[in-house]
Symmetry: C2
């Protein structure tokens, strides 16, 4: 199934509601800092479950309390609605952390 890329205008509109995200090298980008590794990896575990459920997975990097996330849709060669949806879900996880 091909997923259409979203337009630049659609991305900008979505980012207005996700103002902690930016577009870096054609991907939705977010950098997060946690209290420690337990909190960082706990967050990643939650996001992993949501990603698997959506069958849409992040590119991410972690070192200790820091998590860097990039979202793009490989088969579309850019950002799609799937990325915007996952970004919104990640933001909910971030906001709900203890």
């Amino acid at each position: 199934m091909t997923v259409p890329r979203v337009t630049e205008a659609e991305i900008q509109q979505a980012l207005a509601g996700l103002n902690t995200w930016s577009v870096v090298e054609g991907k939705l980008h977010r950098e997060l800092k946690f209290r420690n590794f337990v909190h960082a990896f706990g967050f990643m575990a939650k996001v992993a479950l949501l990603a698997e459920r959506a069958n849409h997975h992040p590119e991410w990097f972690n070192v200790y309390s820091r998590v860097v996330i990039d979202l793009a849709t490989h088969e579309a060669g850019g950002i799609t609605q799937k990325d915007l949806d996952l970004a919104a879900e990640i933001e909910e996880v971030w906001k709900s952390q203890p």
Copy 2:
């Protein structure tokens, strides 16, 4: 507590028993490929627990079935016995996967 860096000779000796690891940019480096994201993140969850127990954490990157790990000891500015120990533990997790 300061952790001494291990010597080049000690690294080479340890790598002889960990021949799937290499030294890249002064860090122990390993790239792994899994069947899918469930297997990749399942592996990461195991390693996360071991890392937290050892209070020594990896730098790592994941996208879908791929995991890239770099180990170094920040406060020592290089590779220490902690890294060699964690690499050996990671290797055990890798070998024991279903």
